[in-house]
Symmetry: C2
Subunit: 134 residues, 2 copies
């Protein structure tokens, strides 16, 4: 856990870093999640994305329940060394807990009468109940 | 500034949200930056990416000095409504202040003798001195 490469990451005040996960085949941005030192080390070790769940305050082995694991193809860091980019193969074709392919499914579009609104744009591919109640 | 669509975003404790910016043509992830309500409203209003600089604690009109503006094609929000995805046309082909096309240029590769290291992978396309001393 004290490897030099892990310490080169500029972890924030909560000892976390934001992680963008992009699908290698489609180049689609699937999720924005967070990693701790331990989750990044486990991601490297296992070859599958392991995040830190801020809501549950624990390690989040992506796909543990749903089966929708993310096989890691590359791990990158940005110029400031405070943000991570994972390139992955998304198992099951579903990254989002809502049963959609990816999480960024609200698009800002014209609303009525004069404003803007966030419109859901992607189909639900699988009922979340099916994904989590096996 | 009090528009419903702006308030639907789940701003963090610092009243910011992380923003992934992706190039529309190449689908490459260019940057991870941050927005405030005001910068998101200005992004919509001007059609160009306006971020919040956490280091300078002020609005950051992307490309203001370098000319490398980002023309916004779409604005998306994720399932939790706490992360933003911009699709942009990157003017000048350079998103990174180091003069590279994008910011995620360090890749985790095998180091020596047994460890890992962050290896810079992308060429510098323009000398930063040229970009910022006009």
């Amino acid at each position: 856990m004290s490897a030099d490469w892990l310490e080169e990451v500029k972890w924030d005040d909560s000892n976390l870093a934001p992680v963008i996960t992009q699908e290698s085949e489609t180049k689609q941005v699937l999720t924005l999640a967070w990693m701790s030192r331990e989750s990044l080390a486990l991601t490297l070790e296992t070859g599958y994305a392991v995040y830190w769940s801020r809501s549950r305050q624990k390690l989040w082995y992506k796909g543990e329940e749903s089966g929708n694991q993310q096989l890691v193809k590359s791990i990158r860091l940005d110029c400031d060394k405070d943000a991570i980019l994972l390139e992955v193969e998304q198992k099951g074709g579903i990254a989002c807990h809502t049963g959609r392919h990816h999480c960024f499914y609200f698009e800002l579009v014209d609303g009525d009468p004069t404003g803007k609104k966030w419109q859901p744009m992607e189909p639900v591919l699988k009922d979340p109940k099916e994904m989590y109640n096996k």
